[in-house]
């Protein structure tokens, strides 16, 4: 058995809405082992994106424990979380993806420079490799505003692996892509998993989820299904 890299214990998240408070996550508990390919599914408003925010340190739980890798996330400051993300995780957001003033190549290169990882020559080489993997090498010097939403999302996928983090999170990472591109991206995720990375995606698509190794379904802030498949 591989080690547990994501450990979520009884996580509750409440939000104030006007003078009321609503509970979005109602005691979520699960664990993910290294090398797993996990899909979190659920309907809109079920709490899956909120759960992803807890796992990436974007938000903090109202109560409960979240450990990713060796870090207990609620204990980290915002700055410590940023430094942790540099090396330990890659994130693919659904809407907010690329820095507008940087080309696709520069966007992919940025996390390496922020982390001070690789030599400049290695960075350039790696940027091109990553962009080739998502079929964007020919548009490396284009600004995000010149490419489609799907292309931007693929560049964000390439960027997520810039520093070769052991864990990658994605929020609807193929939601804005055509079927062929989506398929290519899914194949990339599978290669990452095969290489030993842990990949956790939030998605609406049950079809996509069915092709991962494990599906955790959330409804009304609770896990209603946690299914592990052997084919992934």
């Amino acid at each position: 058995m591989s080690e547990i890299v994501i450990d979520v214990q009884n996580v509750v998240k409440r939000f104030p809405v006007g003078d009321r408070e609503i509970t979005v996550l109602k005691g979520i508990t699960f664990q993910v082992r290294a090398g797993e390919f996990v899909a979190i599914v659920g309907q809109s408003g079920s709490g899956k994106s909120t759960l992803l925010n807890m796992l990436t340190g974007v938000d903090r739980p109202s109560s409960g424990m979240v450990r990713v890798g060796q870090q207990l996330l609620p204990n980290l400051s915002e700055n410590e979380l940023a430094l942790w993300r540099r090396h330990e995780v890659g994130i693919i957001f659904q809407f907010f993806n690329l820095v507008p003033g940087l080309t696709l190549a520069q966007n992919v290169r940025l996390p390496m420079e922020l982390a001070g990882k690789y030599t400049p020559a290695e960075r350039s080489q790696r940027v091109m490799q990553l962009l080739e993997q998502v079929d964007l090498a020919d548009r490396a010097d284009w600004l995000p505003s010149r490419v489609s939403g799907g292309d931007q999302q693929r560049a964000a996928i390439a960027r997520a692996d810039a520093n070769q983090p052991p864990i990658i999170f994605g929020d609807e990472p193929t939601g804005r892509q055509d079927p062929r591109s989506a398929e290519a991206c899914f194949a990339l995720f599978q290669r990452w998993v095969a290489a030993g990375k842990t990949v956790l995606l939030v998605t609406h698509s049950r079809e996509l989820a069915a092709r991962t190794g494990r599906t955790i379904e959330i409804a009304d802030g609770r896990i209603v299904r946690d299914e592990v498949r052997s084919h992934a």
Binding site: E78, F96, G101, L102, L110, P111
Partner: protein, 804 residues
């Protein structure tokens, strides 16, 4: 810096600068306009100081100025030059005349002056500007009166009309310039002067003493006074303030320069404050707009420090560009303003000057101030959590109280309702906008109030204090009967006779000043005191004084204080005719510049008794029917002629009437008034830029919302109306701010200015200025909103919706 320039973030910096060119231009101009104003004002101030010092340093100003009667001959001058206590002695012949450039022009007052040798001047040095020194029939004239070399002038001297050619123009730094309301000075040779006037001696004597101090100069003057009196000369002080002793280092325009400097300092401080506010508003808006990007950067591992550096570099780049634009412009602006002010004072502007000090302040304001000011919003932005940055809660907030109130006003147009909501959407930005725009409004109305105060004080107030229009001073004391004869002349309603004396006042703590004491009959019809403290003189008062406020303030004298008044003796046997204690019973406001307002009032009968003059007087106040200034001047001239025929010699002055004195005071204050007006214009411009900037940023922030509005069918007219109404609301709010604060700020500014230039004021609030700001704020509101509105209209809907 490696965090930015050592990474691809330098491309983001470039993109933020060049990709958002309009925003960059807005931010750069915002910083540049404030820095330009500060650099121009401070640079001009330093330039004016340098130029005035340079002009005065070579004047060889005397410390003792005397008018002697009968005029001094060469023998007397030689005797004075041999006195060891006098370092240098010089003299000039003087007579009041009238002149006109051609027979069809009106006569104007002038002074005819002659020096013994124009090439060998010792004191109060005259400079030849153009042409030649006076020779033969050819005269020279004071420059900048519109008289050129080669012109011919018609002079009237003692009823004789003489036509003279002009052979030169002269730069006299001691004479009041044409631009300040001075009168023409005509220079001729000693021989020609004698031929034209019949006068052979020198009526004005200048003397310099070694190591000037007021005390030593006064002692030397007293000795001189006694010695010359014994020789049968009558002496009168000839300095600007009618005192015999003046500080040679202190130019006659010193107080004006100080006043101008104060106004400039106040305004540069205001401009600096407004500029910093604008910078803060702009940077806050940029950070707000880039919140999502900050979230993205943090999500991929950027630390707060790295994000802070990115935005500090952006602000530093704005500052650097602003410095490059504003520094050369402010050097030009400072030199232009310096030349205008120096020329207005009648002096020569020096060569172009760069004030490195003000440039350094300007560069600091451009580069470091924005960084320091921006640090707060940048740190706040960098601290934002990823969730706060990338959370998407829809197009607008859940609604504040104003929105709830507006929702209830069903009769209100939705466009107006939305514009009001937008104006109040961001309370902290609203406050900052009002600090800038409202601040501009407050400054503008305060400045116009100060200007109104200066004009009121030198105009209406002077007429109210001196209801008798004409005032003439005799050269020697004259009997009441002789002076009163003029009462029978046509056009003369009433006459009041005063005694005026040059005395020395000494306070209990040993400070002394020469001043003019006016002995007035009680009750006086010709003087309506504007009391500052205490009371006016009463009929039964004897050794009671009232002093003008500026003098009382200088000497720290209060009502109830006892002071010693020493009245010089006229018989030459003793120095003082009287030395005794008088009580200060009141302090009055006088609408004169300090250097003309060292005087006080005392009961006439007591003063005559102490001066041992007998019933003889030196000033006549004449009431005439309400008349225009020109009529009054004609009546004054007729009165002079009348007294001349009676054998009563009057002092030469170009300000016989209250209207003339009022005009001269107003001219003196014109430089400051002009400066205040220029400042008002700058403030309005800064306010306009501030509002325009806020609305530009408002467009950027609400581009997505505008896209939605247009997507659901809002016409360009509706979008334009939204912004124009918002601009008007912000403009009108600034008017309310001005309404609330301009009165006290104007009062403070007027008092500071009055105290610096040495005048007393009666504050006048400028209601016209407040109305003007309402109109201007409305115009600014509309104009500043049109460009942003057009930008919003021009953006296509898809771009607006996709805008991030």
């Amino acid at each position: 810096m490696r965090d930015v320039f050592g990474t691809v973030l330098r491309y983001k910096l470039w993109f933020d600068l060049w990709g958002a060119r309009q925003r960059t231009l807005q931010a750069v101009l915002t910083i540049a306009i404030g820095a330009f104003a500060v650099g121009t004002i401070l640079g001009a101030k330093q330039g004016v100081t340098i130029d005035t010092k340079a002009a005065w340093s070579t004047v060889e100003a005397p410390s003792i100025l005397l008018r002697v009667n009968p005029p001094a001959d060469d023998q007397l001058l030689e005797a004075l030059r041999n006195r060891p206590e006098l370092l240098k002695v010089d003299a000039q012949m003087e007579q009041a005349i009238v002149w006109r450039p051609s027979p069809d022009e009106p006569w104007q007052p002038a002074t005819l002056i002659a020096r013994d040798d124009y090439e060998q001047q010792e004191l109060n040095l005259l400079l030849l500007e153009e042409g030649e020194w006076p020779f033969g029939r050819s005269v020279a004239v004071e420059r900048r009166f519109g008289v050129e070399v080669g012109d011919r002038l018609e002079l009237q001297i003692n009823d004789r009309r003489i036509e003279v050619p002009v052979g030169g123009t002269i730069y006299n730094r001691v004479a009041m310039a044409a631009s300040l309301g001075g009168d023409l000075v005509v220079y001729t040779t000693r021989e020609r002067f004698s031929k034209m006037t019949g006068q052979t001696g020198f009526s004005t004597i200048f003397a310099a003493v070694d190591n000037y101090s007021f005390e030593t100069a006064t002692q030397i003057y007293s000795k001189l006074y006694n010695d010359l009196s014994e020789q049968g000369f009558s002496l009168l002080p000839a300095a600007f303030d009618r005192s015999p002793v003046v500080d040679p280092q202190r130019a006659w325009f010193e107080e004006l320069i100080t006043g101008i400097g104060l106004v400039m300092q106040v305004v540069s401080a205001i401009a600096m404050g407004l500029s910093l506010l604008l910078i803060y508003t702009t940077v806050t808006a940029i950070i707000t707009q880039q919140t999502a990007q900050i979230g993205e950067l943090k999500a991929i591992g950027a630390s707060s420090r790295q994000i802070v550096y990115v935005y500090l570099c952006l602000v530093a780049a704005y500052g650097l560009m602003a410095a490059l634009i504003s520094a050369p412009l402010s050097v030009i602006g400072a030199n232009l303003l310096r030349i205008v002010l120096i020329t207005r004072l009648g002096l020569d502007a020096g060569p172009p000057h760069i004030s490195w000090g003000s440039l350094a302040i300007q560069l600091a304001l451009c580069i470091f101030a924005p960084i320091l000011i921006a640090l707060f919003p940048i740190l706040r932005g960098a601290r934002i959590t990823v969730r706060e940055a990338i959370s998407f809660y829809g197009l607008s907030s859940t609604g504040n109280r104003i929105d709830i109130v507006l929702a209830r006003l069903v009769w209100l147009s939705r466009v107006v309702s939305m514009a009001i909501s937008n104006a109040f959407r961001n309370p902290s930005r609203l406050v900052l906008t009002q600090l800038a725009l409202g601040g501009a409004g407050v400054t503008l109305v305060a400045v116009l109030s100060t200007q109104a105060t200066l004009y009121y004080t030198s105009g209406d107030l002077m007429h109210s204090i001196y209801p008798f229009e004409v005032q003439l001073d005799t050269k020697r004391p004259v009997s009441l009967a002789q002076l009163s004869k003029a009462a029978d002349l046509p056009g003369v309603e009433r006459i009041e006779v005063w005694q005026t004396l040059s005395v020395v006042l000494e306070t209990a703590d040993g400070h002394s000043r020469a001043l003019q004491l006016n002995g007035v009959p009680l009750p006086s019809q010709a003087y309506r005191p504007q009391l500052y403290a205490g009371r006016w003189l009463q009929a039964d008062d004897t050794y009671a004084l009232t002093l003008v406020e500026s003098l009382a303030t200088q000497l720290n004298i209060e009502v109830g204080d006892k002071v010693k008044i020493a009245i010089p003796s006229r018989d030459g046997r003793t120095v003082w005719a009287s030395e005794r204690e008088w009580e200060v019973v009141g302090i009055v406001l006088e609408p004169y510049l300090r250097n003309l307002s060292r005087f006080g009032f005392a009961p006439r009968d007591t003063l005559i008794e102490e001066a041992q003059f007998g019933q003889r007087f030196t000033r006549v106040q004449i009431q005439i029917p309400a008349a225009t200034g020109q009529n009054a001047a004609q009546i004054a001239s007729a009165l002079r002629d009348f007294y001349d025929r009676q054998g009563v010699e009057m002092y030469t002055t170009m300000n016989d009437t209250v209207a003339e004195r009022s005009e001269m005071e107003a001219s003196n204050l014109d430089v400051i008034a002009m400066l205040l007006l220029a400042i008002a214009v700058i403030m309005a411009a800064v306010g306009g830029v501030a509002l325009s900037g806020v609305l530009q940023i408002s467009v950027l922030e609400r581009r997505r919302e505008i896209g939605v509005l247009r997507a659901i069918g809002a016409t360009p007219r509706v979008v334009r109306s939204l912004f124009v109404i918002e601009g008007l609301i912000l403009g009108w709010l600034s008017w309310l701010v001005a309404l609330a604060l301009s009165y006290p700020v104007g009062l403070l500014l007027s008092r500071m200015l009055a105290s610096t230039i040495g005048i007393s004021i009666v504050y006048q609030y400028s209601w016209g200025g407040l109305l003007f700001w309402f109109v201007l704020a409305s115009v600014i509101g509309v104009c500043a909103s049109l460009a942003p509105a057009q930008r919003a209209i021009n953006a296509n809907v898809q771009e607006s919706l996709a805008y991030e």
